[in-house]
């Protein structure tokens, strides 16, 4: 065990991401970063500040605004000995990389009968409420979760961000790592010692007995806030974060709902045909005989994200809306 002083260390989400990157770049000279304004600018979110100073422009590469081009380049580089980390500034821009990720990166290993591998990471963002309007606010992680051959990671705390990113960089497959852009300043404990978190293991963020709130990324804090409110109303909520949508830790999700018999699935992606539908289906099939109510889903409204603040705020689940939904599900209105 570490000293108490080390245990008390706190980092922001952005610092945790940066620390994971710098540790892995020190450990493995073949890890490199490429993207728009990743070097001196350190990205608009300043997540990468300081990396180019330590590792140089050879390993922290500014690219043209050319998402398809440099993502494709990363696929080829990953196949031939490097471990590139591609930075896609806003999650909305993954649309530009779709052929490279879906038809190339995801399929190379399978199509070649297991001969070629694509050990690359795409880091990008998700999340609304930054007043960035319809093309800078979407949470499109469900798209990649749909594709066999890709892994999809959704960290919700600084601790998880660091451990999961290190695991993603060491993974032999293409991994897409979505960071909630509203969470970069969130602080939390991050030990200084080396650790990784395996992909595919859910985390119980809060234990409870009356209802399970399954929440991803930005929705974990919302779920924890709602759980505190529910406690005041005499409802004990368990909060579970799958941490990766693929691989998905079905066992932990089902076990929790078998215990609580009620579940709400929260995710900031669009509700229709989204992550919440898949997880609700897994729970319904796996815990059917233990359920006391239909599994409820809460995601983004089925509208392009509006700019105007009062409108935008309506589009994503909040502590209040989750609190109300949970009370109703537990017949406590």
């Amino acid at each position: 065990m570490s000293t108490p002083e080390v245990n008390e260390r706190e980092l922001t989400f952005a610092q945790a991401v940066r620390e994971a990157l710098s540790e892995e770049m020190r450990r493995d000279p073949n890890v490199c970063i490429m993207g728009e304004d990743v070097a001196e600018a350190g990205t608009p979110f300043k997540v990468l500040s300081g990396l180019v100073e330590e590792f140089g422009k050879e390993r922290v590469l500014d690219t043209p605004i050319s998402e398809a081009g440099f993502t494709g380049l990363a696929v080829g580089a990953a196949m031939t000995g490097l471990r590139p980390i591609v930075d896609i500034m806003f999650g909305d821009f993954i649309t530009l990389t779709m052929d490279q990720m879906v038809n190339q990166a995801a399929k190379v290993h399978y199509m070649s009968g297991g001969k070629w591998k694509v050990p690359m990471v795409m880091r990008t963002t998700l999340g609304a409420t930054r007043r960035s309007a319809a093309q800078h606010s979407q949470s499109l992680h469900a798209w990649f979760s749909h594709v066999p051959g890709l892994k999809v990671v959704l960290p919700s705390t600084p601790y998880d961000a660091k451990g999961l990113l290190k695991a993603a960089i060491r993974d032999e497959n293409p991994v897409v790592f979505f960071e909630d852009k509203m969470m970069y300043k969130l602080k939390g404990p991050v030990p200084a010692e080396e650790y990784t978190i395996p992909l595919g293991v859910a985390d119980v963020k809060r234990e409870g007995s009356d209802i399970t709130l399954v929440a991803t990324s930005s929705m974990v804090q919302v779920a924890l806030g709602a759980a505190t409110m529910l406690e005041g109303a005499g409802i004990s909520a368990e909060v579970i974060d799958p941490r990766t949508t693929w691989p998905l830790d079905e066992k932990t999700l089902i076990a929790s709902v078998k215990k609580t018999s009620r579940a709400i699935v929260l995710d900031e992606g669009y509700e229709r045909y989204g992550i919440t539908a898949e997880i609700a289906s897994v729970i319904s099939a796996g815990a059917f005989y233990d359920l006391d109510a239909p599994v409820r889903r809460m995601g983004a409204m089925h509208v392009p994200i509006p700019f105007s603040p009062p409108l935008e705020d309506m589009t994503v689940p909040t502590e209040n809306s989750v609190f109300e939904a949970a009370k109703s599900l537990c017949n406590r209105n």
């Binding site: 073949n30 590139p84 490279q100 290993h109």
Partner: protein
């Protein structure tokens, strides 16, 4: 930076090399003839896009490469794979979906890949591999292993934006990659002039790439350009673009029989009679006493036997076990 390169000096390209050009081109043609046969006998599932007529491009290029250099290929990729060193038996097996195939039957005709010969895979998305080839060149540069990458694509890929994105990147980073545009005149069933505005070479020179146009029916010309571009790329000279003018003898795929609505029989006949890369090399080699007719016939006999054996091997080879369907989704 357009450049004109003369045919290889006859004294420099020795007889052994010329015989190898012949052997490699003929191997591709005989392979493809058997593909046509297997397909029309309903032994081959899916689609078959034949490379017949274009053999000089793949052979001229790949003969200028090292075994560990990288290539990426296209849906019309059998020629590239063979020219880079793939063996016909495992190629046929892959085409038939058999476990002995290069990709254990999971890739098929349009996805043959083989790390042992630097083949990063044929690609069924038009221009789908331009990023991959550029990335391989990026690795080669960063790892300083002296390799280069050659990216084959048809003129149809000129319509895809990703090609221009990676040419920009390749020139910015001075990557050892050669983009080889095989202009066989037809983008599926449409003449390229109907889909391609402006000039082709200047698309590359606009980014500062070294660019050259070459007679893709003349293996010696292709090889001469390829050698110069490969040397240059290998020694830090940066990326290049080669436009190889060629012709697809068959339809877009084996089932494309009635082609009169997009091209005439006369046109096809004139290419086959006057511009055939194998016949023309044979004529030149015999006329200039580089090889005797009997010697060439001997090679042809050997190749026919080899291709027949290889095809038979594939026909008899077993399909993959059903339990392999979920294998290799993840590494």
């Amino acid at each position: 930076m357009t450049t004109v390169i003369e045919r290889s000096d006859e004294a420099q390209v020795d007889a052994t090399r010329l015989l190898r050009f012949y052997r490699q081109m003929l191997a591709i043609r005989l392979f493809e003839e058997r593909v046509n046969d297997l397909y029309t006998r309903a032994l081959m599932p899916g689609l078959a896009h034949l490379y017949i007529g274009e053999e000089a491009v793949a052979v001229g290029m790949c003969e200028a490469l090292r075994k560990d250099d990288y290539i990426t290929s296209t849906h019309r990729g059998h020629g590239h794979c063979l020219a880079k060193g793939a063996s016909p038996d495992r190629m046929f097996a892959e085409l038939l979906g058999k476990e002995a195939g290069y990709c254990r039957g999971k890739g098929g005709s349009m996805h043959i890949a083989d790390p042992d010969t630097g083949n990063m895979g044929a690609n069924a998305i038009v221009a789908g591999s331009v990023g991959i080839a550029t990335g391989a060149a990026f690795s080669a540069q960063r790892l300083d292993n002296g390799r280069i990458a050659v990216c084959f694509f048809g003129e149809g890929a000129l319509g895809q934006g990703s090609l221009y994105e990676v040419m920009n990147l390749a020139q910015l980073f001075k990557l050892p990659v050669i983009y080889v545009c095989e202009n066989n005149l037809y983008t599926e069933y449409t003449h390229f002039s109907e889909t391609t505005a402006g000039d082709i070479l200047t698309r590359a020179t606009a980014f500062g790439l070294l660019a050259a146009e070459v007679d893709g029916q003349d293996v010696r010309s292709v090889h001469a350009v390829a050698s110069q571009f490969a040397e240059r790329a290998r020694h830090g000279g940066g990326p290049g673009f080669i436009l190889a003018n060629t012709y697809r003898y068959s339809g877009h795929h084996v089932g494309d029989i009635n082609r009169a609505y997009y091209r005439s029989k006369t046109e096809e006949q004139s290419w086959k009679a006057e511009r055939d890369p194998i016949q023309n090399l044979v004529a030149w080699m015999t006329a200039s006493n580089v090889a005797q007719k009997t010697q060439l016939e001997e090679i042809e006999k050997e190749l026919i036997a080899e291709m027949d054996r290889a095809a038979e091997f594939a026909v008899k080879a077993p399909y993959p076990n059903p339990n392999q369907v979920e294998e290799h989704v993840y590494a």
